[in-house]
Symmetry: C2
């Protein structure tokens, strides 16, 4: 059982660790040789250049200015300085809203911590239930709800606080949802013309025996959206091709590596042809790489032609573009046919945000996969997490086990354990918060992986300034793992707010440190690969709500084991109100993250039409939604060299359908567009 | 404890009761004087007339043809004869789909009954757990799951059957959902032009300081749906006016009554002015009624002017009509502004289906009411239903209570009781099914209330054939109470299918009898006041799913008290699969009941445009969505007499806004519609 002294020791150790990390960071970031590791964002923005100007050569690698070392924490205020508006301009809305998750944590937990320490800690402290029970416990437990005797009237304080915490959390969540929704709307409104504003992703196009997917799409939208349809782009299953391109790129890196080695050592390097270059016959490495590249190049060209010509490689999905944002907004929000599983339309993601390899998964397969994952998730929880957690709870309650004969009636019909176990688990989580939340976040700023990789690449591969540019890896916020991590802290904070308030200050430090560190990284390091306009916020909101409801149910279980069964209905109101609040918020704010309101679309259309009446939208959208393997520069070069006619195939495939479309003449004039069923033959 | 003999006695009694009802019905329906009670539908269709042709006068009242009495059940095959297609034509889709609920019951329970009797009854019967337990029980319980001893391997049969029942129920439900969705789509497609096809209900129109609701609506839709907007109709809060109209109608009935009385008795009738005509001073009844009618008429006229002129009586809601079905479908399915709680649009119900008094409830108030009802519902269940049900369960288990000392370990922290209580409750529900389901349904066909009322009215009020027409009350299926009643039978059937299969045949009889009786009533009696196109089916589906999940959870609880805890995960899969199935069905079929697919809309538009290119839609829609008190004939007569200019006010209020609308000139030509922001001044 950890005492306050133990926790203090742990805190001291972790503070020292975190400080060491920050010191190392402060030292490393000042060295010009690391500039591209710690400030890549500025290089990408073109606002920083490799240090090469004046001074001695050593200045290019090491910082000799002693004064700069003294202010080793100066990056912190610098990170906080940039105003939000400017930060959106600099790093996009996604990053700024990601930071708001930390801010939300602070907004929720600062008042809760103050209240909990002002009200609950004194209420818990001035009891001696644990001494009476003779359970082995620590002085930390004296601060927790465990220290209040069975059936005490003091639990009313926890009950009232549970209500206060709920109302405060909901208040903050509502404000944040509203704020983020407004930011998103303003961001979308201020955006320049973007292909996705005019485009809709259509999935589950039904097979047609007479027409190709492309023809079918064109006919369908010409008939059902006659005044608005502009063009479309079918989706190719180019996963194998993408693999080949990737493989060739890797082989080229090896070629560079061996050529560099050859230049330095003047001896032709060798490699083995087998697994990982460790087995098989030995060959000349440079020749081997060259022949491999040529072989893959040929394969790639064949695959490219196959993808173009084989109708099976065209997926039943398409990006359909419209003449106006209004037309796209209408198509994305409406049901096209009487069968709601066909011709599914949704607002297209921006081109960089398309996950191409997933787009080729058939829709039915996606549904089945979802079911399988759902069932698997359930059984994983049922057979693994719950029993393990339960056994672990028991195993850690050595103290209770020792006093077992005395506590037997308490341990018997088992849920009561929860009443002692949850509060006592607090010390474990305090340690966890310090290790993962404090030291872990400090480690993030060091970017060890990127640091090592950059210097390795710099040494072995880099020849030109362009190579150095490519070796630089700014990275990006990986929402899929960093967001759930923050959510754990929300869950811990909300669960322990009414139970063991001592945990709260540790969580506050995590949120504050995380906010500063990630703000610094976003300003100086990360380069987001796409911009969704904070589309992830509804999920953040939902998860905090789930954490809140979980905390309320746990408190309910806990108090019902503490002789306060009569409080159950009063406590049951909490999750109901919270759930209703969630429904309200979803209804009120979520549409801003999913749908494109017609008024906004019309406003932008009208403005644009007035400003640039002759803008050629069709050529602007020409290949926005083409699979990237058909676009990237180096591939094209290679490709054209192999088969100079193939480039045209892409275009031809698209145009062919248009040539056979009987209504093509419509495109000549806009006059006849209003009479879709009476086109004079010429 | 009821024995099989008791149940048999109950069944015999109820069969006799039901047969007596059916005999009375068979006798009454053959009397010409009751023709309008039992065949009103045909009168409304104009295919039947009051019997007055040939024969003696007595033939007008009594049927003297003895042969017709012999075939007293002949209405049953007659009711089943009419094919479904013709029935849709005759009574509408709502009624036909309502009948499908009974059919669904038969489809689900006939195979389940056969299986349960083939497999579960033998498995249950060949045990003697109840004899061993020495619980007071009946031979019915020997057929139920109670008769299987604790921890027996035989429960595997119930487990397997639970899976079979789930798959079969889901299979039937899926087929029915698909079938009903198809019927709905075909029905909508075959429909003639209807105002609601072009109309959208807009709610939560934000207040505007400069413009009236009407002006605001017009401007908003002219800007955001420039090519499609046609006209709109604001919603008046005319609830008080409707009350007055209703009051006046009642007073007129009294006037008729007294005048009839006067004609018969030649003595002027008197009445008292106080409460219910029983207290206060005595006055001449006819004069009193006339003066009252005049008074109410004046009040009504004042109220009418007030509603017209007072902007407060205009609700922030409007029915907006479009030039095409496509335009309406688009508007109904899209979000209009960035604030998703403003300018809410939904597909308008057909004019007869509008519940006018509810339309004037503000949207916020509706949300709050929903919350209050939700919370109240929860507490009602929590504080009332659950404890009552529990206490009742205990109270009825006299048998267990007598053997209490022996069963003490069984009754001990209580859920195990469920394992004995639910099966033993079966006899209660069997009796319930017979009384409510058999005799109750047979009573329905007698139409006692309508029968008595018609003859009373016929005697006291009817003077002309038109009066008789009005005295006839065909009634209609009250979905709000008859549908939940059927749902109870689904719940009972599914819960007891695996527990006490003996209940199933009783439920089968209910579904079969109900189907025949209601089919007869729908063909000959009921006259639905509106047609929603089977929009209620998703609710029917949902409730059967809820019943299925409830039955699965009960079986889970039951088996876990029977020493089969290890089966819990296997059983938990059932509700998960069922829930997933529901999600799938909702995703797949529900949109057909909510949204109007663009393809269908476009198809109908194109066809109509080709057939009737010069149809005047605007005048067709002129006052479709006007509040009925502004339309009904008698009111207008009265109204015009009181204030001949007022009729125009309605129109003027609508047109005024158009006069002040700067874009009015648009309506002259369609040429300029494509340039919404450059209208030349003339």
């Amino acid at each position: 059982m950890a005492t306050i002294y133990d926790i203090g020791l742990g805190a001291a150790f972790n503070i020292v660790t975190a400080t060491i990390f920050l010191l190392i960071f402060a030292f490393l970031r000042l060295q010009p040789v690391n500039d591209r590791v710690f400030f890549p964002k500025w290089y990408l923005k073109g606002m920083r250049d490799s240090p090469s100007s004046a001074g001695a050569a050593v200045n290019k690698y090491v910082n000799l200015d002693v004064r700069s070392y003294l202010k080793f924490l100066s990056w912190m205020p610098a990170a906080l300085k940039m105003p939000e508006e400017e930060l959106i301009e600099h790093a996009g809305l996604d990053s700024v809203v990601y930071l708001r998750i930390y801010l939300t944590g602070l907004k929720i937990f600062v008042p809760i911590t103050i209240l909990a320490f002002g009200v609950l800690v004194p209420v818990n402290w001035t009891n001696d239930a644990l001494d009476d029970l003779k359970v082995v416990h620590s002085d930390i437990d004296n601060l927790s709800i465990s220290n209040i005797p069975y059936g005490s009237k003091r639990f009313i304080a926890h009950l009232v606080m549970a209500y206060v915490f709920m109302f405060w959390t909901c208040y903050v969540l509502k404000n944040e949802y509203e704020r983020v929704a407004t930011m998103r709307l303003r961001f979308l409104a201020s955006e320049k013309r973007r292909p996705d504003q005019f485009t809709v992703l259509v999935r589950n196009i039904p097979p047609d025996p007479d027409e190709s997917v492309s023809e079918l799409v064109e006919h369908f939208f010409l008939v059902n959206h006659p005044d608005h349809y502009l063009k479309h782009q079918t989706v190719y299953n180019a996963n194998k091709l993408a693999d080949l391109v990737e493989k060739k790129k890797k082989m080229r890196n090896w070629l560079d590596y061996y050529q560099n080695k050859f230049e330095r050592k003047s001896k032709r390097p060798t490699t083995k042809t087998g697994f990982l270059g460790c087995f098989g016959s030995e060959v000349d490495a440079i020749d081997h790489c060259k022949s491999e590249i040529e072989k893959i190049g040929k394969e790639e060209a064949e695959e490219r032609i196959k993808v173009m010509k084989d109708p099976k490689s065209i997926m039943p999905a398409a990006f359909v573009s419209f003449r106006s944002r209004w037309g796209a907004a209408v198509c994305a929000q409406t049901q096209q046919t009487s069968n709601p599983t066909l011709w599914l339309t949704e607002w297209a993601p921006e081109p960089r945000d398309v996950y191409w390899s997933n787009l080729s998964i058939p829709f039915v397969s996606l549904t089945v996969r979802r079911l399988i994952i759902g069932v698997a998730f359930f059984f994983l929880n049922f057979f693994y997490v719950i029993p393990i957690a339960f056994v672990q709870t028991l195993a850690n309650l050595e103290g209770i086990e020792k006093a077992l004969p005395f506590l037997k009636p308490l341990i018997e019909s088992i849920p009561r354990i929860i009443g002692v176990a949850i509060p006592m688990k607090a010390t474990f989580f305090i340690t966890y918060v310090m290790v993962d939340g404090w030291a872990g976040v400090s480690l993030e700023i060091l970017r060890i992986r990127a640091f090592v990789l950059y210097h390795l690449k710099n040494f072995f591969l880099v020849k030109t300034e362009k190579d150095r540019e490519e070796a630089m890896d700014p990275g990006s916020i990986c929402f899929y793992w960093s967001e759930p991590r923050i959510q754990l802290y929300f869950l811990l904070g909300l669960v322990y707010a009414a139970v063991t308030p001592l945990l709260l200050p540790f969580i506050l430090v995590f949120f504050a440190l995380g906010y500063v560190v990630y703000r610094h990284q976003i300003i100086n390091v990360y380069h987001q690969r796409y911009e969704s306009g904070a589309q992830f916020w509804p999920n953040v909101h939902l998860r905090i709500i789930v954490a809140l409801i979980a905390s309320q149910l746990l408190l309910l279980g806990l108090l019902s084991t503490k002789g306060l069964e009569e409080a159950t209905p009063v406590l049951l109101v909490l999750p109901i109100l919270t759930f209703w609040f969630h429904k309200y918020c979803t209804h009120r704010y979520k549409p801003a993250f999913v749908r494109n309101p017609l008024q906004e679309a019309m406003r932008k259309d009208t403005l644009e039409h007035a400003r640039e009446p002759n803008f050629d939208l069709k050529s602007y959208l020409a290949d926005s939604y083409l699979h990237p393997v058909f676009k990237s520069d180096d591939v094209d070069k290679f490709y054209v060299a192999d088969d100079p006619g193939a480039e045209e195939v892409i275009v031809a495939t698209k145009r062919q359908s248009r040539r056979t479309t009987p209504v093509q003449s419509k495109y000549d004039g806009s006059e006849r567009l209003s009479v879709p069923d009476s086109i004079p033959e010429r």
